[in-house]
């Protein structure tokens, strides 16, 4: 699935949240959206799944403008995990994941749909929690349930808004490894908004840095996420260390702390 975002603006009233954003994402690739709070990451992701349409510009999937795609067809192509999740206390884990299959279910649920739910849960190591109620889970486990729901949807494009914010470091790595495996294997693309720059460093093929709705950097992670760029966008000083495991970026102080 090839995603093209072209000159997208989004205004809420007179407030410009996105300003001329363009990027291209090819199948099997991961794009990380990086930027400070309020820089427009969630707004951009929501525009791609048509929760709200952009004020100007176009978004297209494999050459088709998403506004011309029937919502039901779009739902089969795009899977979305929101930043803030809502759930029902009375629902179990597998029922929540099963919702991802909504567009493939007319009324009764076939064995095949259930197998997909099982596969999604197993991919995230949550098979043993299938029968648990949502309110019995920890925040991190819940977040993984919502990721599993998107996996069960089996889309060609994943949109993840801070999918690892509630996860501990082990699960952050596990989830990202799983997602990279899935994108590589199935040729699915993925747009992921992250705060952890090292996750972007390690797992993204491309990084788009947003700053107040403007593009502050776009390209390969190592080329874009430099101490200079981070200083400009976040007002934070950082340095890059490199060892046999790869490159890591370490933020250490804000400008205010540095006395500027």
């Amino acid at each position: 699935m090839e995603l093209v975002v072209y000159c997208v603006d989004k205004l809420f009233g007179s407030h410009r949240v996105l300003d001329g954003i363009s990027f291209l994402l090819k199948g099997g690739k991961i794009l990380a959206l990086v930027g400070p709070n309020g820089s427009g990451k969630s707004t951009l992701i929501k525009a791609i799944t048509r929760i709200h349409d952009p004020s100007n510009g176009t978004i297209s999937l494999d050459g088709a403008d998403i506004r011309t795609i029937n919502p039901v067809d779009l739902a089969m192509k795009v899977g979305y995990v929101p930043q803030h999740f809502t759930y029902t206390l009375y629902s179990t884990v597998f029922e929540t994941v099963l919702l991802g299959r909504r567009r493939f279910i007319r009324w009764s649920v076939s064995d095949e749909e259930l197998s997909r739910v099982q596969a999604a849960l197993d991919a995230l190591g949550m098979g043993n929690l299938a029968g648990a109620y949502m309110d019995q889970l920890s925040g991190g486990e819940r977040q993984k349930v919502f990721i599993a729901r998107a996996l069960a949807q089996d889309p060609a494009l994943y949109l993840f808004d801070e999918p690892t914010s509630a996860l501990d470091i082990r699960y952050q790595i596990e989830v990202m490894e799983t997602m990279r495996r899935i994108t590589r294997k199935q040729g699915a693309s993925m747009v992921i908004a992250v705060h952890d720059l090292n996750l972007a460093y390690r797992y993204a093929d491309t990084v788009l840095v947003l700053d107040h709705g403007l593009t502050a950097g776009y390209g390969e992670p190592h080329a874009v996420l430099t101490p200079d760029c981070i200083r400009k966008v976040y007002g934070v000083d950082s340095f890059v260390v490199e060892n046999e495991h790869g490159k890591f970026i370490l933020p250490f102080r804000t400008h205010r702390a540095a006395g500027e």
Partner: protein, 391 residues
């Protein structure tokens, strides 16, 4: 991969077996509740000022129905259906000569009205709770009860005058029913109007409903204050709700309306399940959330206001029935809607039977019984303090 198989086989069973276990539990609840409704109906038809044995009650229902069926067969099948006909004719009349008149003429229509009203209010409740993602929403949250009360109060206070002036040949009681229904339905149109301007988020809709409710309540109070004692009493009794308006005509009007609305709402079950995951996820899964929410509210308000028009305000069923069912079977609306309908029907039928027998021959409004049961039920939920009981 071959090594993974033994470990993954029992897991594969898990989701499938969980789903099957859940489904059979849900179907079992439907079967049990259906049995409860039928049994309660038969028992309820037997008790009252004149007691009738269950056997006679059943005969009192079957005998005239079999007679009618026989007549129908004779008329429509030229050769008749001799075997069936013999069997139908062979059904004896009840031992108690009055039984047929009392059961068929008075109690059964009332029982049907209670079943239909209980089911509609419960279904409206469960659907509205799903649509607004709030388990404390009831069919009355969006102003329905105040609006319907206002309509009824207008009809009671100035209805005779209006009808006299316009020379419309309908009875005062029928006018009350029409006005209560129209105003109940109007409340939803007003909510819809507000949502056109301010969007369809849950908070907008609930606030709109509350505001509309207050305005109509003011109207009811004004009418109560301005009217004379007899009419004031009529208004108060209407507000308490009861099955006095029962008749076969009422049942024949409500039955098709309820069936159609239930089917329409049941068709929304999967999307209601998805909506529980939030508006954004629902949109991602291809649901037009705003339109879905308004359509669902329209249909469920319609179901509730149809029944309310005949019975007056009956509270708590729309809250209680869905709550109890969720505790048993979770949040799958495919089953939750029919279970709530049956649960609501049972609760109202039992309450109404109590209302007309506890102080027999004096009848108390079923609304009072519902408030007592509802109050105790929610007190129990609070004291039990389980996370899944109340949100």
């Amino acid at each position: 991969m071959a090594q993974d198989t033994p470990a993954s086989v029992p897991k594969t069973v898990t989701v499938h077996s969980l789903y099957r276990a859940g489904s059979s539990q849900r179907i079992a609840l439907i079967v049990v509740l259906t049995a409860v409704v039928i049994l309660t109906a038969v028992l309820s038809a037997g008790i009252g000022t004149v007691a009738i044995t269950p056997g006679d009650t059943v005969l009192a229902i079957i005998h005239p129905s079999a007679g009618a069926l026989n007549e129908f067969l004779m008329r429509n099948l030229p050769l008749g259906a001799p075997m069936v006909s013999d069997m139908l004719v062979a059904i004896p009349t009840p031992a108690d000569a009055q039984a047929e008149l009392i059961v068929m003429g008075f109690r059964l229509p009332r029982i049907f009205l209670a079943i239909l009203t209980g089911a509609s209010l419960a279904v409206a409740g469960v659907v509205m709770q799903g649509l607004l993602r709030n388990p404390l929403v009831s069919p009355f949250t969006l102003g329905l009860s105040s609006a319907a009360s206002f309509g009824a109060a207008i009809a009671i206070v100035i209805g005779p005058a209006i009808l006299g002036t316009l020379a419309i040949g309908i009875e005062d009681n029928a006018f009350i029913i029409v006005m209560a229904f129209l105003f109940g339905w109007l409340s939803m149109l007003l909510v819809y109007g507000i949502s056109r301007a301010r969007g369809t988020s849950q908070s907008t809709l609930i606030l709109a409903g509350v505001v509309i409710g207050y305005l109509f309540q003011a109207g009811v109070m004004a009418l109560k204050y301005l009217t004379n004692n007899d009419k004031l009493r009529d208004i108060v009794v209407w507000l308490m709700g009861g099955m006095w308006g029962a008749s076969w005509n009422a049942v024949l009007i409500l039955l098709p309306l309820c069936l159609v609305t239930f089917i329409l709402l049941e068709r929304m079950a999967w999307d209601l399940n998805v909506l529980a995951a939030g508006d954004d996820v629902a949109k991602n899964l291809g649901i037009n959330v705003g339109r879905f929410r308004l359509t669902g509210l329209m249909i469920s308000t319609f179901a509730a206001s149809c029944c309310l028009a005949f019975t007056g305000i009956i509270g708590f069923i729309g809250l209680m029935a869905p709550h109890i069912c969720r505790m048993f079977i979770g949040n799958d609306h495919r089953y939750l809607i029919p279970c709530s309908a049956l649960m609501g029907a049972s609760i109202l039928l039992i309450s109404d039977t109590a209302a007309r027998t506890i102080m027999s021959p004096v009848e108390i409004p079923v609304g009072i019984i519902m408030y007592i049961i509802g109050g105790i039920f929610f007190l129990f939920l609070i004291l039990r303090g389980s996370g899944r009981g109340l949100y």
